[in-house]
Amino acid sequence: MDKAKVGVFLSDCGKQVSEILDFNAITDYVKKVSGVALVGRSSEFWRGKGLQLIVDSIKNGKINRIVVAESLPKLSEVNIVQAVENAGLNPYLVNVIDLKDHCAWPHRETPSEATEKAKAILLGAIERAKLLEPIEKLEFPILKSVLVIGGGIAGMQAAVDLADLGFEVHLVERAPFLGGLAAQAGRFFPTDDCAICIQSPASDVKTITHTSRKCVYRSGFSEIPNLNILTNSKVMGVEGGPGNYKVTIEKKPRYVNELKCVACDLCTAVCPVEVPDEYNARLKTRKAIYMNVPNVHPPVYVIDESFCKFHDCAKCVEVCPTKAIELDQKSEKISLNVGSVIVATGFKEFDSSIIKEYHYGDYPDVVTNLELARMIDGFGPTGGVIVRPSDRKPAKKIAFIQCVGSRDRRYNPYCSSICCMISLKHATLIKSAYPDTDITICYIDIRTTGRQHEDYYERAREMGIKFVKGRPTEISRDPETNRLIVDVEDALLHRFLELDADLVVLAPAMVPSEGTKELAQIGLESLLDEDGFFKEYNAKLRPTETIVRGLYICGGATFPKDAPTTSLHAHSAALKAAKFMTTGKMIKDQRTAVINEDYCGDCEFCPVTCPYGAISLEPTTEEHFVARVSDLLCEGCGVCVGTCPLNAIELRHSRPNQMLAQMKGLMSVNGTSKPLVLAICCSECGHTAVDSSGMAMMKYPANIRIMKVPCTGILQIHQFLDAFKAGAQGVMIVGCKSDGCHYEVGSQKAEKKVELARVLLKEYGIEPERLEMFNMVFIEGDKFAEAAQMMTERLQKLGSLQLMGGSQ
């Protein structure tokens, strides 16, 4: 590499900085630093003439490393780096620092001390710049195809969006028919319309009107040429990585040819096998060859292989006019390569039979909301009549019980968020169809938080539906009449009630679906939260993304959701996937970890620690293996560096020698009477908290020296010792909040390391309180200023640090 020729560019930010700092003294100082080839001064360097000076100096070969002191470096850096790159220099040889918010403003009352600190900041930056190395950009191909797992409303909506945008879409549904829980639930709040109504594709599909919503069976959905619908299919494996996931799918035999079946119903008429219909709450029977309801998609029968007698019977084969029934179909393995994956596996009802005192599964007249929905559905087993399952007589008195297994620390601590609305919807639908029905809803709190949702509650009260604030303790049954008795305290009236009811409807918690659990088992377990739902990358900003690029989540797979929210979620996931795949490639720089294979070997710390799964172990010989970093997955946080016991990993953009050089620079100039403190800040919350203290002109003493690292997780214990050796009297580690680390685990790792290091310091005879970790966010600039002040006072009390051999 060429000898480093550093160009230092000092912006006075329109005199804001030079009014406080002695710029002439600083310029004179910097000129004398070895390796500095040029010092420029201007009122701004991120645009205009100032930036042109940087560009010209690169072009005429005067400089090959750049240090710019500019205000708001996190913004100005973008422009400077771009211009540097355009001028032909590697953009990672630039170091932009802040003399305003990190120096002049917070120390404006002690300008001479601030000037000395500015020298230290610049010296540190120059020494670091000299050691910077060029970093290359890599291009990764991304397949323009997507796997959508789950054919409920979330999956269908996301699939239509992406198919419309021209991506190749594979929609996989484990059940024989699309629609998921939604189709079974019948009608939706707040529109009270059918579940199977979906947004029509915008693609040019036959005669479909584009803007109008349609029932799924007439939506033209299945006619979209680049949408491949696989029902009765299960995802068996997801391997590979972003841009190229290798997916294996098992397509189970339907025994009915989808292309030949005309849904004429002759087969079900002759089928001799009758079994309870689970889909319809066991309130009716179905045949071994069946459809859930007549309006399903695909409109093709399926044979239930656990009940069909196959060739021993084969009556359906005989009657089928189109020869669609194929009893010898075998399950089929399908392998696909896709650029991204959308998980839309939904949720299901909690198994209420676990709560023994409610006798669900024991008393037939205790049903769940989903089972009630089947009764309300005109296509359902009772043709829309609400009956007592025990004797099929109309239910005249109905009691609902809310929060069955939800908001319950024994089962699911969370509020499922939709069950109040489901019960209100059901109660009002029943009351409008059968006004003489006596309905009581037992609730803990009624939660109707959505547009038009409160209307349901209001309408329910108008209709005479009764509300009892109280969670029933038990359901019992009168042995003579078989009527149910709900034992509940009306907490508002301080009265104990024994409500008698023909039918008790439980509103169970919504829990992760079987599909969600199965996906977890094939290697996605780390993406689940403590309740078993898929966890988003960031609830506020990335609600449908996961920590893995190219892997998106939406709908009920992430948490119980109503239909409008599920739709929103699906569209969001589709957009994120489209954004990821749209150019067919991803350009990513190599600001990543690099392994020194001479040192690395035979431990598993880094692959286990990496929050992004970017590190794998590969065998070198039969007995040894080394870590390999995927440049595609690595986010460049350095948590692996901090974990490696052998110093075998470094970040290209934050090597230990670069950090040490900067540290020494920062500690080389004192100029204050106060003890020097090195504040090592993460580039996210920590460093920005320092910014915000400066922006708000908060004051703290000039002995506080700021050093930025990608994440506090990169730090190793010896670096704390290095800091003391370099002349620091105290060390502050400033990172994100433990549970809000931008790199997931870095902050926690650093906390643990600081704790350990303090034990070690004590052994060395150094007061452990000279080292402390602080956690803060951007808006907590005041917290940083306070911490800096506190640390300074603490060190003044402790007195000067005596190291064996003296400090350097």
Binding site: E357, C403, G470, P472, E474, A491, F496
Partner: protein, 168 residues
């Protein structure tokens, strides 16, 4: 409630810091405990939900001076069924301990206490019972070793609680 009554929310912290009282703040007043309670079914003087609510609202005096907390029969029905895992019966024990420390103890309990101190038994044995035992084939009762027990009761300060009750 009288206007000048100032409720102290810190009382819930006091309860939560006592053994058994830790879970009191989890309560969201669903009433499962009340409808599970066999005592509440027969008397309006006790409702576990209300005892917890009053404790959370800081109505210390009302809780510890009233007789509600002494009416719990410790069947633990409420605790078994509470969806928030509030250890209701144990919270009530914690409240009883607070009440006791502040000198509130119903007569029946102080009778138990003096019986324990004097005879080594919570419930005193009447001559009638003693005479009845042989007729039922039961052996005569053995002495309780009350001296050893009293040492423990003195060492743990139980006797002081007793005195406090007597003086109040």
């Amino acid at each position: 409630m009288e206007h000048e009554t100032v409720t102290s929310l810190a009382f819930s912290d006091v309860v939560a810091s006592r053994l058994g009282g830790e879970t009191v703040t989890l309560c969201y007043q669903c009433g499962t405990c009340a409808s599970s309670c066999p005592v509440a079914k027969i008397t309006e003087r006790f409702n576990p939900r209300e005892v917890i609510k009053l404790s959370l609202l800081g109505e210390k005096q009302e809780v510890i001076s009233g007789d509600a907390i002494w009416l719990c029969c410790s069947c633990y029905n409420c605790q078994e069924r509470c969806p928030q895992k509030v250890e209701i019966a144990d919270v009530i024990y914690a409240l009883r301990n607070i009440a006791l420390n502040e000198g509130y103890i119903p007569n029946i309990y102080s009778e138990f206490a003096s019986s324990l101190l004097n005879d080594g038994r919570i419930v005193g044995i009447s001559k009638f019972v003693e005479n009845k035992r042989p007729t039922l084939g039961l052996p005569p009762l053995q002495p309780t070793g009350v001296d050893a027990l009293r040492k423990i009761l003195f060492a743990t300060g139980f006797d002081k609680l007793q005195k406090q009750e007597e003086t109040s």
